[in-house]
Amino acid sequence: MDKRRFSIQAVSALLHNANLKGFLTGKIYQGAGKNICVPGLNCYSCPGAVGACPIGSLQGFLSGLKFRFPYYVLGFLIFFGALLGRAVCGFLCPFGFFQELLHKIPFPIKKNSFAGDRQLRWVKYAVLLLMVVILPLCFALTPFFCKYLCPAGTLSGILLAVHDSMLRAQLGGIFLWKAFVLAVVIVGCLIVFRPFCKYLCPLGAIYGFFNRIALYRMDLDADRCVSCGKCKKVCQMGVDPVRECNSAECIRCGDCVRNCPVNAIHMGIKYGQAKKHSEKTTAL
């Protein structure tokens, strides 16, 4: 385990949810911090949340009665994406951290590659396009992703309902559906590493577009690489760093960097042009 990344994830989850009093009182934070979109998936109705969820805010604009182009929210997404890409997922996202903690729980079946895994990765792009953009644009006041899918929101609902009997009394069919989705994600986390990030998260889909050009990225030194395949074997996101170290699926966990026996993989903001592996094999 990378203790440095674990510490950053824990601190980030705490910063995203710094209104600790809210967990005890069941009241959400209403201060000025909620003007600002946070980088990770963190429901703004979570009693601890001190910032605004970027996906929730984006849908708020798109599903408005009058169309408003979401300059502000898109600005945050592009800014975070350009600097960090999916390092946001690997280091900063509280829901990603929650999934990783669940995955650490011992369970008889731990499986990261199975038939259909590759195809399922495309679902998050469909979720982004349909549930976050197209359907909210077509049906006013209905943030489809938040309403029907987001498990972070369901967790918030549970945390609020514990304290609020009025809210508890209103929970009905939609909550049951969302609780089912949350249960599937939780059980999925016991078996698969970060299933929500891999298959469903629209925020991960957005940040994935930036992975190739983000300031924080990976490089493979093809001169050093001995093609042992260890990096691919240890990658829990199913990426082969030798083929594509800046794949949209890479969350920059750094497992491949730590496990490379010849230090051929580098991660950070200082690395320049690396030789492509194909160039090396041609030269040989």
């Binding site: 959400i28 209403q30 703004y44 502000y72 600097l83 929101g153 930036f210 320049g272």
Partner: protein, 45 residues
């Protein structure tokens, strides 16, 4: 350093978009939504 140019341009574009959003009063709209319990998010609908 050349490899960092596209991301710096994009990051700058992000800052510009945030600036346009601020000029249009969009932070207030984000705040209005975020300070109330989102019924859809928590599963009430």
């Amino acid at each position: 350093m050349k490899r960092n140019i596209p991301c710096m341009l994009l990051a700058s574009a992000g800052v510009v978009l945030i600036g346009i959003g601020i000029a249009l009063g969009q932070p207030g709209q984000v705040l209005m939504k975020a300070v109330r319990i989102c019924m859809e998010c928590v599963g009430i609908g």
